[in-house]
Amino acid sequence: MPEKLPELPRPTDAELEILTVLWSRGPSTVRDVHEAIGFRKATQYTTVLKLLQIMAEKGLVRRDEKQRAHIYEASQPCEWTQRQLAGDLLQRAFSGSAKSLMLGALSARKVSKEELAELRKFLDEYEGGAR
């Protein structure tokens, strides 16, 4: 069934966290998810299990029941969240201004098409040289 843009509900904060783990670790069992979340804050295994079940009902995750320990997988790619959140005006306003405070490896301005081509050329040279 070709699904264009599924009308999925917006994930809550807790659900988003689980989704993040799934995107990061790939399809995982409840135990894996619980362990990953545990790095940042203490949660109960049962809480995680409950949330995953709810998310499966909502369609946010897919459950693979072939094995004894069910494996959960995010139903949408990571970019889907960004698209979702982009619709939120407030989020947009906040994230727009957040640029000025954060530091990072790349600049806020995307490079132009010409510069990108130049980059690609450089990368190819580099890779060629590395081999």
Partner: protein
């Protein structure tokens, strides 16, 4: 709105306004200096260039602050002085001209400050929103990186000698690695990046972020934001800030290369990052930094192609403009700054060259006696126009005699026609109106109120406004304190005198005390320059009687009106604690009279209460 209108005329607001204007050339100057220094430095020396940039930014903030500090009048002037009607400054050259141009600039100037404040507020609100967004990013949509990455991060931290613990998180909301926080720093990696690039490349990027943390770049960036918000209107500030950011990235790049040794690999990692960003559909929620191409070129030590930079031309042009503003600015700063050096401010009086201005410290107290000022203007014997004292001349000689400046006076005399004179008078009052926008001219109203008050209260043989007290009242306003001794007072007998105390007079000083003495006992108080003029003993060899002994104010008293012993005792301040009330003697020549206070008071022996004669001595043991 009315509040705002009156606030913008306070010295604080004026100082702010002028500081903003002066920063136009100060900012240009600092930016120009930085530009020159950066040209002298080689592009390799990122740390030096970064330090210079930070210094320049700091210098900009400091010069703004210093200018504001210098322009603030000292202490008291911060209090809004509607009662004293602090006049707007009349620059010396402006008075003779009857056109409105200098006035327009002065009208628009005060509104700069509220506009600027609105801008600052907006930008700071935006910064607040940023901060909230940043805090959200570290909590929502994130998960901790896997254990092995945490381990690698720990090792990298060790190589940088970084003590603070750093959290490494993956976030689905960003598409470029970012770092945030300084007490509990966090590195956020876009989802999948850790697995997507080679380990070496990821480590290089992590090193870059850790370098930011180690150098406390996040804090410096916060300060940059604050300064940018404060001085947002000056492009030089943004240019310098951009330089700082560029050099900051270069510094971190250098640290990565130093530790990893592989510049090309790192450059490739950056290029890949940028490529990935292109594939993401959403606008980047990325950090600010320099141009990627420049950084890669610099890493690979490839010289950039010569690019016709517009910067020098732009800088030269802006410098010329700002020099022009600076010249205008300095001209005004000397007249705008209300320093104690008297300038053409109509509130202060004529220069001391015109009249003996002696400042004598009173023996009893620290405050300074304000002394005889300029000669009263009625002595200005200018020939009236057409032989008749026109109402315009009367206006100049009487109404505004004490508040018109010499330049204005000369200008007024040169006017030929009545419409010109009326226009001048209108301008005169407008210049002094503290609220130029309103129909009411508070200064004018107060001035005429003072004249009326003086005429009502100080008049005796001459008009109230012509007296010394009237002059002081009209010029400086009602004093904060009046100490009145209509029957004399003090340790020695004195003439009736009044002390007027002003807590602060602009351009004169604090705690000004003016004394008026009625030395002729005529009802007319003259301003005195000599504190001892009060002392009847020294100045008036008239009929006197003496009260000595245990009384409040022993001394000599003028015998002007018929005075009885009782009255004399009261005038002398009554009895002190150990006075002998029943054995008071009055020595008249060789004769001695007895005065028993108790008896006289109870009604017995009232005959003892004799009228005094000159030379009598009342002795209270």
């Amino acid at each position: 709105m009315n509040h705002l209108e009156s606030w913008i005329h306070t010295p604080v607001a004026k100082a702010l306004g002028w500081s903003l204007i002066h920063f136009l050339w100060q900012g240009m100057l600092i930016a120009f200096l930085l530009w020159m220094l950066l040209i002298l430095c080689r592009p390799r020396e990122a740390r030096l260039r970064y330090a210079l940039g930070c210094l320049a930014l700091f210098a900009m903030a400091a010069s703004f602050g210093l200018t504001f500090e210098l322009l603030l009048p000292g202490g008291h002037a911060a209090i809004a002085v509607p009662a004293r009607l602090a006049l707007p400054v009349v620059p010396p050259g402006a008075a003779p001209a009857l056109d409105v141009r200098p006035l327009d600039l002065k009208l628009a100037l005060p509104w700069l400050v509220p506009l600027w404040m609105a801008g600052v507020l907006l930008l700071y609100l935006r910064s607040l929103a940023s901060w909230i967004a940043v805090e959200r990013l570290r909590r929502t949509g994130v998960c901790a990186a896997t254990g092995d990455w945490q381990e690698r991060l720990r090792r990298l931290r060790g190589r940088l000698n970084l003590d603070r613990s750093v959290a490494l998180l993956e976030s689905c909301l960003i598409d470029v690695p970012v770092v945030m926080g300084f007490l509990r720093p966090v590195i956020l990696m876009p989802m999948g990046l850790l697995a997507g690039l080679s380990t070496d490349q990821v480590e290089a990027i992590l090193l870059h972020e850790l370098a930011h943390i180690r150098r406390w770049d996040y804090v410096v960036n916060l300060f940059q934001n604050l300064i940018e918000g404060l001085l947002f209107y000056h492009p030089a500030v943004w240019w310098v800030s951009g330089q700082v950011r560029t050099e900051r990235e270069n510094c971190c790049d250098d640290m990565v290369v130093k530790l990893k040794g592989d510049a090309r690999g790192y450059a490739a990692a950056l290029a890949t990052l940028e490529q990935n960003r292109w594939s993401a559909r959403e606008p980047a929620l990325a950090a600010s930094g320099g141009s990627l191409m420049k950084r890669i070129h610099r890493l690979l030590q490839q010289p950039e192609g010569p690019r016709a930079s517009a910067a020098p031309i732009l800088a030269a042009g802006l410098l010329l403009v700002s020099l022009g503003v600076a010249v205008a600015g300095w001209q005004n700063i000397s007249t705008a700054a209300p320093k104690p050096v008297a300038n053409a401010v109509p509130l202060t009086q004529r220069e001391p060259a015109e009249a003996p201005a002696i400042v004598t410290p009173l023996p009893k107290k620290a405050p300074v006696s304000l002394v005889a000022q300029a000669v009263p203007p009625t002595s200005d014997q200018s020939a009236p126009v057409n032989g008749i004292e026109t109402p315009y001349l009367r206006w100049m000689h009487e109404d505004v005699a004490y508040i018109i400046s010499d330049e204005e006076r000369i200008a007024f005399k040169h006017l030929q026609s009545d419409p010109d004179r009326e226009h001048f008078i209108e301008q005169f009052w407008m210049r002094r109106d503290p609220t130029p926008g309103t129909t009411v001219n508070e200064f004018q109203e107060e001035h005429y109120r003072r004249i009326a008050y003086a005429n009502d209260h100080f008049a005796d043989k001459i008009d109230g406004w012509k007296t010394d007290r009237g002059r002081v009242y009209i010029t400086y306003g009602p004093p904060d304190e009046i100490v009145s001794h209509p029957k004399g007072g003090g340790a020695t007998s004195t003439f009736p005198f009044e002390e007027w105390r002003y807590r602060y007079i602009q351009d004169v000083g604090n705690d000004i005390v003016v004394e008026f003495v009625d030395a002729n006992m005529s009802g007319e108080y003259r301003m005195t320059s000599d504190p001892s003029a009060k002392d009847a003993l020294l100045s008036k060899p008239g009929p006197k009687y003496f009260v000595v002994g245990e009384v409040g104010r022993p001394g000599a008293f003028p015998l002007v009106t018929p005075t009885t012993v009782m009255e004399a005792l009261v005038l002398a301040g009554g009895f002190r604690d150990f006075a002998n009330r029943s054995e008071i003697t009055i020595q008249r020549g060789a004769k001695t009279y007895i005065f028993n206070f108790k008896e006289v008071v109870t009604g017995q022996n009232r005959a003892q209460n004799i009228p005094l004669e000159p030379g009598d001595q009342i002795i209270v043991k």
